[in-house]
Symmetry: C2
Subunit: 129 residues, 2 copies
DNA sequence: GTGGACCTTCCAGTGCAGGGGAAGGTCAAG
DNA sequence: CTTGACCTTCCCCTGCACTGGAAGGTCCAC
């Protein structure tokens, strides 16, 4: 299968697949005599895995770690669990920060409900911020 | 006041202040005969404003818009209000996305609580993801 | 034999907010 | 008179996940 067909099947682009290969997420593809990349259909499952990892908020580098473990013959279960734990903690923190930011902005916005240009002094730039 | 002193007073670096000038957040500084930047003390207030804008999650480009309006002689109140509204909507959306992602990952993590390497088939890479 | 769709490599850029460091000028203290 | 701290401009680098485009090779149908 050529790169364009694989890309379409996997819902991505040829460009991205070359990038994945360069990043070590896909093994160097077999080549036809004319140097076209030639993929086995199973490769699509690997790309799907990459997409699932992305959907879980993992970076390509983290997904690559999992694939490397698997390619090394081991089961990546525990590493996956640790990554999920770390990701979960990060997300909780991001949510907390965003929530605090939302409250801050909501308050600023409340103060700015009735804009009163005359009460803004020039050295403040804007009294609502 | 020279750039290093202003930077320290404003809690930032000289490098960043040059960058702000380049981005139009600070007007081109006065220069001494030896071409050193020479700032009025009030400049610190403008840098503080930039920092408050950042704390509200605004980008430098948005903060610049506000400063440009103010520098043009008008009161930026309404624009600020609109920016805050837009930022608020963005944040709500980010929180919603992160919350959904958190739930997804929490579920995956739950399934991976007792890793069982033997039940992972190679073509799946990892049955928990 | 030609057109167009596909493929190849390589280089460069995107957005965001700066940071690193080179090569050289300036200033005050000792 | 020299040392060291500060300043100047300049260009490149960071992280992340791609994307765009140029220049050229290949394949297949008409």
């Amino acid at each position: 299968m050529r790169i364009g067909e694989l890309a379409e099947r996997a819902g991505t682009t040829a460009k991205t697949l070359r990038f994945y290969e360069e990043q070590g997420l896909l093994p160097p593809a077999e080549r036809t005599p004319s140097r076209y990349r030639d993929y086995a259909p199973e490769t699509a499952a690997r790309i799907d895995f990459v997409h699932r990892g992305q959907a879980a908020g993992l970076t390509l580098a983290q997904i690559r770690q999992i694939l490397d473990i698997r390619d090394g013959g081991a089961a990546p279960c525990e590493h996956v669990r640790d990554l999920l734990d770390a990701r979960l903690a990060e997300i909780e923190q991001q949510i907390a920060q965003l929530t605090a930011l939302r409250d801050t902005i909501a308050e600023l916005r409340h103060d700015a409900a009735q804009p009163d240009p005359d009460s803004c002094s020039a050295d403040q730039v804007c009294r609502y911020l």
